[in-house]
């Protein structure tokens, strides 16, 4: 059952994860729909094909680690974790409610499968580096994956951590950037330019690849080739569309941090159900 290698099946999982995200956010009445949908295919490729995991056992000692540095994409992560039987799927629909184990942003203290508390941007790569250093000390073959938002890279700490990963030759770490080109206040190129993004990471000593972040076989191929790199950390800049999968959400700044209303919700369901 795990890992899943059939691309049609992975695509179908991604569709179902997107349906769950829309349902969760509609019921919660708030949350980040755009960045959850843009990250969905990356998470599906990682969790259902690439990462070494034990479905049903979030504490499996030999697992690969995942850090969701862009913590606002929590709904996408939760939908994936539920599908791996880390907790019952019904819990998804308690998202953001008082007393729920699914907090608005990832909280490792209450959600099985969430390794690191995130939500304040720019901090996840440092934590991933620390995990990678520990795994190296233990001479473990486990790997660390961290998903960064593109706007998040504007935080200075990311570049501190970029230097650290290269300095300590953390070849057991792969970062992914969800390059959806939008942030809360507008387009990244208007708010704070990021380009040339790949050249920046290369200059910092990283093995850098670029992929279409919605083509699962392409993502998987990049993840595999990054695992073969020795002596330096890897980063995959995944070109994505914010709100991917629902036409009215796609590439819309407005849908960074709002939940769909009833009309939008119904349209989203209709589009996603068609597949």
């Amino acid at each position: 059952m795990h890992p899943i290698t059939d691309m049609t099946q992975l695509k179908e999982i991604a569709r179902q994860v997107r349906l769950d995200i829309v349902e969760m956010l509609y019921r919660a009445g708030s949350g980040h729909v755009g960045g959850s949908l843009s990250a969905t295919d990356l998470l599906v490729a990682l969790f259902f094909n690439h990462m070494h995991l034990m479905p049903g056992n979030p504490c499996y000692p030999q697992r690969d680690y995942f850090v969701l540095s862009k913590g606002h994409a929590a709904p996408a992560l939760y939908a994936v974790l539920a599908r791996l039987n880390f907790f019952p799927r019904e819990k998804l629909f308690t998202l953001r409610q008082f007393g729920s184990s699914l907090q608005g942003h990832p909280d490792s203290r209450c959600t099985p499968g969430v390794e690191v508390p995130t939500g304040s941007l720019g901090q996840g790569l440092s934590v991933a580096n620390g995990i990678a250093l520990a795994l190296k000390l233990d001479k473990s073959r486990q790997r660390v994956y961290v998903l960064l938002g593109d706007g998040e890279i504007q935080e200075g700490q990311v570049w501190e951590a970029a230097m650290t990963a290269a300095h300590y030759r953390l070849d057991n770490l792969t970062a992914l950037v969800d390059r959806n080109r939008l942030q809360i206040d507008g387009r990244t190129r208007e708010v704070m330019s990021l380009e040339p993004l790949a050249a920046k990471w290369e200059a910092f000593g990283w093995h850098t690849q670029e992929v279409d972040g919605h083509v699962i076989p392409e993502i998987i191929a990049a993840l595999r080739s990054c695992s073969q790199v020795r002596g330096q950390p890897s980063i995959i800049i995944a070109h994505t569309v914010k709100g991917k999968g629902v036409s009215i959400f796609e590439d819309q700044v407005k849908f960074h941090g709002v939940a769909p209303n009833t009309e939008e919700y119904q349209q989203a369901l209709a589009e996603l159900q068609k597949g």
Partner: protein
């Protein structure tokens, strides 16, 4: 009793930061999971003593305190016992949100041992003197906050911190302090000690001010006043029963610290007494001001943190008690 000069009462001096470095090097043998991180200040914080012995378990993050805290958090998540060190002002100021969001919020097993606390940093001046670190750490849920008064207490606290599961902040200092505890001193969380019995006032200090409170108690004794002296080195969780009991016994209380009066020991004690047993009290501390360059002695005099200042403040508080 002899004259209240530290050379007579406590002839040996030790630096809390040096004792921290030595303790790490020793504990590294016993705990293979112990790792140490620094941000380009390993000579000053004394973590270099560990680095020299356990090269592969020491990580210099460069001048990057935010990354320092995040990396320490990751090491803790993967089962290591990280000690992260830099100057107190950078650890708690520059990286406060990293400590808050990842280490404290996640209740992670990270030990932050920050050197150069207080104004006795001296000549480097106000930019390098941490006078708000205790407030910044004390307000964080899950965080334990400790301020050793001397070498033996530093060694005991570091040894305790290795076995405690959860975030801890320990403030060390640049200046060597007189040794007031026995070599076999052990530390217990939430438990503080009476160093001198007395009836007329309680003098409660942390760090170097513990010694200054003891000296002040000698000076007060010469005037026929008996002072109880507490070392409240465990700032959080505070030994509130000892604080309340002392306030009951002596009827008034004074706190002394190398820190702003806002948010530090004085406020921690005030909070307890205001709720449980209000008595006349005074906080000997820096008042809404930053530090400056100078020798430690000059600065202690300028900011009113000498035994003589403590005496004067004590007499004023005792006076209020009598009027009351």
């Amino acid at each position: 009793m002899g004259t209240p000069q530290e050379t007579v009462n406590f002839p040996v001096k030790e630096s809390t930061r040096v004792e921290y470095g030595k303790a790490l090097a020793k504990l590294g043998e016993e705990y293979p999971n112990l790792v140490v991180l620094d941000a380009d200040l390993s000579g000053s914080t004394q973590t270099a003593r560990f680095a020299q012995v356990f090269r592969e378990r020491f990580f210099n993050l460069g001048i990057a305190e935010q990354d320092l805290m995040g990396t320490a958090a990751g090491l803790a998540l993967a089962g290591k016992i990280p000690f992260a060190s830099t100057f107190a002002i950078f650890a708690t100021g520059r990286a406060w949100e990293q400590i808050r969001q990842t280490i404290a919020y996640g209740n992670l097993n990270v030990k932050i041992v920050a050197s150069h606390g207080g104004i006795t940093v001296g000549e480097d001046g106000g930019s390098h003197q941490a006078i708000e670190d205790l407030a910044l750490m004390r307000i964080l849920p899950n965080m334990v906050v400790l301020v050793p008064a001397d070498g033996p207490e530093t060694r005991a606290m570091v040894r305790w911190a290795v076995t405690y599961e959860g975030p801890v902040y320990i403030r060390t200092s640049r200046l060597p302090f007189p040794v007031i505890h026995p070599a076999d001193y052990t530390f217990e969380l939430g438990r503080s000690h009476v160093l001198r019995e007395g009836e007329d006032i309680t003098l409660a200090g942390i760090g170097l001010m513990v010694h200054h409170c003891l000296t002040a108690a000698e000076l007060l004794a010469q005037q026929g006043i008996s002072a109880r002296v507490l070392n409240l080195s465990c700032l959080k969780p505070l030994d509130w029963e000892l604080v309340v009991d002392s306030a009951r016994r002596t009827g008034c209380l004074l706190t002394a610290e190398e820190h702003l009066s806002a948010g530090g020991l004085g406020d921690a004690v005030s909070e307890v007494l205001a709720e449980h047993h209000p008595v006349p009290m005074k906080r000997v501390a820096l008042k809404d001001t930053f530090g400056q360059s100078g020798s430690p002695d000059e600065l202690l005099k300028h900011f009113g943190l000498t035994p003589e200042h403590i005496c004067k403040a004590a007499l004023e508080v005792i006076g209020r008690k009598k009027r009351g």
